[in-house]
């Protein structure tokens, strides 16, 4: 019931936004074009609908055997309604092409950020060193150029608030640039279907004032470093050979696993927490999952506690969307 009432309440409260936040230098131009296109659409739709309506009423059949008046086809009329839409289209094309070409080239002064998409997360690496997962911190007012590639399938880096989007291809680099104009937190979506958790391959873009950004660069590192070190270990120990993605079906993806109730082969269900992760790494056979072969080797004696914490921090960071989402 509540579900059914929601739209009504939502509309009454004008809770439905009509426009996504516009937070980049590109957005304004795109929005203006969008507005004009909407105007054209409304104009022609209303025109056609109302002509139909008027004719429907005016020329309705009044008698079964009525004979209508002939109309002939003046060439002029035909030409008019061929040429006018053509002209509209020509103008639109020139306009849109201008915006597109202009937006195609990143300014020289851009900061370059390296992006790697993989099923189903975003890895981002700043020039200054910090690496982030599913989130990107950028300063306001500075052009950012993303150089992107994919580890597996095609993804697409999409930030609606910036009106930018570009496919992220395996085996190739593509690039994308934007310059944020408003501080705030904006959605990052994967906009190219990439498999099971395509809809969870999402994140956030944090646009910060330059001073905040400088602080983040300087201080943020400490709080993030554990996870980053953990990530390095994760590939150093070859964890990512198996846990890289769902698609290899050998091992479960660890994205979002932290804090989620997990059903085990024994039938019991436990919430995945730090200790369970540790247990899984040291004695994998004690936490067998259904649907998977007991492939995971034990790392007993190889991984010390410090490293264990780093790994845990990393695995936690993989599941951090919920926290940020709210």
């Amino acid at each position: 019931m509540k579900v059914l009432l929601q739209p009504v309440i939502g509309i009454l409260a004008m809770n439905v936004p009509f426009q996504p936040p516009a937070a980049s230098t590109i957005a304004e131009g795109v929005d203006r074009l969008y507005l004009v296109l909407s105007g054209i659409t409304v104009f022609f739709s209303v025109l056609i609908f109302s002509i139909i309506f008027v004719f429907m009423v005016k020329y309705r059949r009044r008698k079964e055997d009525e004979i209508p008046v002939a109309t002939h086809t003046p060439l002029l009329v035909e030409l008019a309604w061929t040429i006018i839409p053509s002209l509209i289209c020509a103008v639109l094309f020139v306009w849109t092409a201008a915006i597109y070409v202009q937006n195609g080239r990143p300014p020289r002064s851009s900061i370059e950020v390296f992006v790697i998409g993989k099923q189903w997360m975003w890895h981002l690496q700043h020039p200054e060193g910090p690496r982030e997962i599913n989130e990107l911190h950028v300063p306001v007012g500075v052009p950012i150029k993303l150089t992107m590639t994919s580890q597996d399938v095609i993804h697409d880096f999409y930030v609606p608030a910036f009106r930018v989007k570009k496919d992220v291809l395996p085996g190739r680099f593509t690039s994308l640039w934007f310059e944020a104009t408003e501080t705030g937190t904006y959605h990052l979506f994967c906009a190219q279907y990439c498999g099971t958790n395509h809809s969870e391959m999402i994140g956030w873009i944090y646009v910060m004032s330059s001073s905040d950004y400088a602080n983040w660069l300087a201080g943020g590192e400490k709080s993030e470093s554990l996870a980053q070190l953990g990530e390095r270990l994760f590939s150093q120990y070859g964890c990512d050979n198996c846990h890289a993605s769902e698609s290899n079906a050998r091992a479960p993806s660890l994205v979002g696993v932290y804090g989620r109730p997990q059903k085990f082969a024994t039938g019991e269900t436990r919430v995945v927490d730090e200790s369970l992760i540790q247990q899984a790494i040291l004695t994998p056979n004690s936490v067998r999952l259904p649907n998977y072969q007991p492939l995971m080797p034990t790392y007993q004696g190889q991984i010390d506690q410090e490293q264990m914490l780093e790994l845990i921090a990393y695995i936690k960071s993989l599941g951090s969307e919920e926290r940020k989402g709210q």
């Binding site: 074009l33 969008y34 004979i67 999409y158 989007k165």
Partner: protein, 548 residues
């Protein structure tokens, strides 16, 4: 003309022979049309059920019903079934098969055996896809982009690809048959410019069938091989290029969207003229716009790839060509509207569908301009805006035209009338439900909600719930015709040869027609849509309507 009392002819194509075998081995184009009708309806119900479940799932941001994996399989099956197994064959294979020979004054299509074979191919294709859906599904989206589809997807991609491959040959044979039939089987006096516009539209459609479909066949063939043998045709790790697949896929699949709309446009030309008792406005413009749509449609496919990192100039060329393809569509819309001018308009159900088509197609088509336009497409690509765009054209346009056509020719097909009141009510329900379902999706898309999302951000919920509410209304709207049309086959009042008093050769013969269609091949002496009309100067001060 047709003043004889409505009576069913004693022997017609329906009762000429009995038994399953007489249907499954029939060479009669009319029966084959009905075989298609049954198959396609089944596929529509399956695809529609998937859509209904999807909409239910999307009522809640975190997903109400399924795991993401299941949801992905739903929209993939929905897309594949609706496109390849419902909409592409819908009008051509059912109404086209039934009507072409009747409308051009022929006894059958040129190659009846090929015609039957193409139905069997189609059924085989359907069987593969249904098997696929039941046995675990396919989760690649209807677009099958590699390397996901070729190397990563765990689902039954090959069975689906095989189904499409086989159904493709069915399309090719249908197209071939139609082209030859239209060229070679016209009755004496039926010149090109006396052809009904439905025939022109099907001719243009057939061109796309014949020239486009082989390419999708090769493409899915390569995809299947890549998947089975891992040989690296689209796999970048071994030198392949996944975007090459996209080029080859869209080389067919863009023209294919005009396969879906052109026949519908043809139907609309018939409906508008019949129910306003007018000659079509600008016959040759409407006819040639069909052909030019068919031709231009082949050179715009790159507009699906604007954000793939396509070369700048290629992007510009594809954009300008996409704008170009809008012009002939505009010409059609204006000509249909102008046909109503000074007509004698009545509002039987088919006409309501036709008018609905014009409006919704206009909206759908104009939103296509947002996508043809590079700068806005960058934002809208991959969002619900696109979902809304194509449902406006394919559901609001093509399905409406299909339903309108079915209602229009139904009395010819089975010789009986359906209850017109119910038909009008359901047309209205469909119109309302449709807009409620898909209009919010335009807004969702602009707000940035990506498509193919099993879970979504909470701020999109309100619009999604609206859309789902609309979908349930729409679903009800589709059930009603299903019921009364089946009912009317047995219990409807006898229709007589020409219940609408429409022009066209198909209305000159009994309903249902005899197996041989025409006792004597007619000789055509007049233009299409030659409805009686009064020359305007005869009544200088008339309000546009006069009676005799």
């Amino acid at each position: 003309m047709s003043t004889e009392a409505p009576a069913e002819p004693a022997v017609n194509y329906l009762n000429a022979s009995y038994g399953i075998k007489s249907w499954l081995l029939t060479l009669d184009h009319k029966r084959i049309g009905l075989l298609y009708l049954a198959t396609i309806t089944l596929m529509f119900v399956v695809g529609g059920l998937a859509a209904t479940l999807m909409r239910l799932h999307l009522v809640e941001p975190q997903g109400a019903l399924f795991e993401p994996e299941t949801y992905n399989k739903m929209f993939s099956s929905h897309g594949i079934i609706m496109v390849f197994f419902f909409l592409i064959p819908s009008i051509p294979a059912t109404l086209g098969n039934f009507c072409i020979p009747l409308m051009i004054g022929a006894r059958d299509v040129a190659f009846p055996r090929l015609n039957l074979m193409s139905w069997y191919l189609f059924v085989t294709g359907c069987a593969f896809v249904l098997y696929d859906t039941i046995s675990g599904g396919v989760d690649t989206g209807w677009t099958f982009y590699p390397p996901y589809s070729s190397l990563y997807a765990q689902s039954h991609v090959v069975a689906a690809a095989l189904g499409i491959f086989i159904a493709g040959f069915s399309s090719i044979l249908t197209g071939l048959n139609f082209i030859v039939t239209i060229h070679k089987m016209r009755a004496p006096g039926m010149t090109w410019f006396r052809l009904p516009l439905f025939i022109w539209a099907l001719y243009a459609t057939s061109l796309i069938f014949v020239l486009g479909t082989p390419v999708i066949a090769v493409t899915v063939f390569l995809l299947g091989l890549e998947r089975l043998l891992h040989v690296g045709i689209f796999d970048p790790a071994v030198g392949g290029d996944p975007l090459l697949f996209q080029h080859m896929f869209w080389f067919y699949s863009h023209p294919a969207v005009y396969i879906m709309i052109l026949p519908g446009m043809g139907v609309i030309s018939e409906l508008i003229t019949a129910f306003s008792r007018k000659k079509i406005f600008g016959y040759s413009f409407v006819a040639f716009s069909s052909l030019s749509i068919a031709v231009i449609s082949f050179i715009v496919w790159g507009h699906h790839m604007f954000v793939t990192g396509q070369a700048l100039y290629a992007g510009l060329v594809f954009s300008v060509l996409s704008f170009l393809v809008a012009i002939p569509s505009a010409v059609k819309v204006f000509n249909w509207t102008a046909t109503l001018y000074r007509g004698s308009i009545s509002y039987e159900a088919p006409m309501l569908y036709a008018l609905g088509f014009i409006g919704l197609f206009t909206i759908g088509g104009l939103t296509g301009l947002f996508l043809a336009s590079l700068a806005t497409d960058v934002h809208l690509n991959g969002t619900y805006f696109i979902v809304a765009h194509f449902h406006y054209i394919m559901v609001g346009g093509a399905v409406m035209a299909y339903l309108g056509g079915i209602h229009f020719w139904w009395p010819k097909i089975c010789g009986r009338l359906y209850p017109d009141m119910w038909a009008r009510i359901s047309a209205a329900i469909i119109f309302i439900g449709f807009n409620l379902t898909f209009f919010p999706q335009f807004m969702l898309g602009y707000l940035g909600m990506p498509r193919r999302y099993a879970v979504y951000a909470p701020e999109f919920q309100v619009l999604n719930v609206l859309s789902s509410a609309g979908a349930s209304i729409l679903g009800i709207g589709y059930v009603i015709p299903l019921v009364y049309l089946i009912w009317s086959m047995r219990y409807g009042p006898i229709a007589g040869p020409n219940p609408w008093k429409a022009k066209g050769l198909e209305w000159t013969i009994p309903s249902p027609p005899p197996t041989e269609n025409f006792e004597e091949i007619p000789i055509v002496t007049e233009d299409a849509y030659n409805y009686p009309a009064i020359e305007p100067h005869a009544y200088p001060d008339s309000q546009g309507v006069a009676s005799v």
